[in-house]
Subunit: 187 residues, 4 copies
DNA sequence: TATGAATGAGCATTCATTCAT
DNA sequence: AATGAATGAATGCTCATTCAT
């Protein structure tokens, strides 16, 4: 089924283009024409891959949020402490790609009220993201008393990310890292 | 004599209505018709108080963000530790009103790319919010080694707030408070 | 009846303001707010003097066109040839005031299709203007063979006026006059 | 393959429809909806051919004014005197089509104050029209002493046209022609 | 499959008009 | 008489969507 592979690849490319357009113009501001142009097609071509704009947005949201989990692969080879740090750093908007994901997530979060369907997708993806991170934290730091401790760590990651988006000049990559280190607690 | 109206009061009411509409429908989704209907007027009436939609949005954003600072009044009478906790709690989306402010802030944050003017307003307001909180933290907790420590505390507050918005069922008020307490560090 | 005098005077002032606004912004572009502001009042005040915008426009048109006839008073004391020249010169847009009248007339002419009522006013006023000029021409120049000759002279005046409006730099006052002189024919 | 359309031809059709609508309702009165309906389309279709209303108007103005020059082709085969008369007659609103062009020109002239850009287009087109006519006059009538003489002839043409628009019943085609003949001067 | 022409609903905005004061 | 708040119907324009090719 070579066709299907092509179609899926196309959908991915379109989702990437959509993510860029959303980061640039906001969700409502990102017209289908803009997304299509970003990807190098015309509007009419989108209809073959997504029935309507909502589906394109939902797919883009899912793809972007999954990317935040995808990196979180196996860190078993590292020492627990080193693995933990690596994992958390992967979740911060230190790279351009990760910043894009955070911006897109923020755009959808601000839209949540207007489309409960998208809000649900977002919430589920967020819970998956949260579960992944917390599970790994607990593996790497079995000494943490409860998962509330892990949750606090996650909140810190999210807070640092949020502040980095608002004030990217102040929050350099190294500052993000040192703030994270300071909050990780001590054995 | 014309019908006399307290224009500033009206602007405030309209900003409240706009905040509700934004939380419900997103920023672009909140049409002037919707805002006017929410406030009990018709579209044309808005023009008396705001020259255009951008001005309405800017005013709403400023009003909402200022509300987050307004509560942060005098805590001098309390013990430093108690004052600190009170202040931070005031910044969490534990009340319905504070939740609304966070949702509105999130909506504007997601819009940042499409209107640099609004993004600037938001950034300035955020910096003011940050400065207020950090200054108070440093007063209440002179033992904190540096303002980086205070910043970490702020990041924690923001992170808890963000997670509460994504998962309000899990993040009850008491959970928000205990997560904050756990991260406050010890004297 | 001092009140009536005041009201009529007001109407005249408003018509002047309207003529300026129309010359500046066109007929549809001249909003009631703009006219009122030009005259130093607010919108609501207009309603006391004109039932609606149409009436204001009709009054303004009539007043402006009548002004073009008003100057054409008694030239009996002059020699016929001198009187003729004076009369025709009075009809050219050589003065600022006369230019305004021509511009307003042009604006209404361009609008003629959309309001048959205004078009009728304009046509009647034009016929009156034409009759006045032609009658005077025939008095001053009894040697002209027919009123067709007079009509040709009027056409020349109108043509010079039109070209002066399109290219005011080229068509100085002296050029308008010499073109008129060259076309007046010889005894 | 998409539906192929001769875009330039379409633009021409739309300009024709716009000219009719402008003659009927004035420039501001001619809404895009009205123009589109006149041409048998809907509003949204216009955007494929003109970015906005201003562009539609500018194109219509240019097209209409150029038509007034287009007819003025080669008259070299005729006798000079006959050619002159033919040319000038072509410029009078004796045909329905030429009347439309004059009405449209008048509508734009009345609008000149509100859009300097359109006024410039109009002035340039007018100068081109003037230059064309005057050049031809000078070719056909080398005996005319100066180009001021030619200009006077043009003024006469314009004046006849203007009066014909104000009083089309009186100014039949034959009357226009005889007025022109009487003013052409004698060899 | 892909194009781009065409639709029609929706938006922000303007404005003549009405009306309480 | 005069103000200015409020209305509601347009208008220009954008855009997701449909569809003939």
């Amino acid at each position: 089924m070579p066709r299907l592979v092509d179609a899926d690849r196309r959908r991915g490319e379109l989702a990437d283009a959509a993510a860029c357009a959303i980061a640039r113009s906001g969700i409502d501001g990102a017209s289908l024409r803009e997304v299509a142009a970003e990807a190098g097609w015309t509007t009419g071509a989108l209809v073959h891959y997504f029935a309507n704009k909502r589906e394109l947005l939902a797919f883009t949201l899912r793809a972007s949020l999954n990317s935040r989990c995808a990196r979180r692969s196996d860190h078993a080879a590292l020492t627990p402490d080193r693995a933990l740090r690596t994992m958390l750093v992967d979740a911060l908007p230190t790279t351009e790609e990760m910043t894009l994901h955070w911006v897109v997530a923020l755009a959808f979060a601000g839209q949540a009220g207007s489309d409960p369907g998208l809000a649900l997708i977002q919430r589920n993806a967020y819970l998956k993201f949260r579960a992944t991170v917390i599970a790994l934290i607990e593996i790497c730091r079995p000494d943490l008393e409860s998962d509330q401790e892990a949750e606090r760590l996650l909140a810190l990651v999210n807070g640092i990310a949020l502040q980095s988006l608002f004030d990217p000049v102040l929050w350099t990559e190294s500052r993000q890292l040192s703030a994270l280190d300071a909050g990780r607690g001590h054995r």
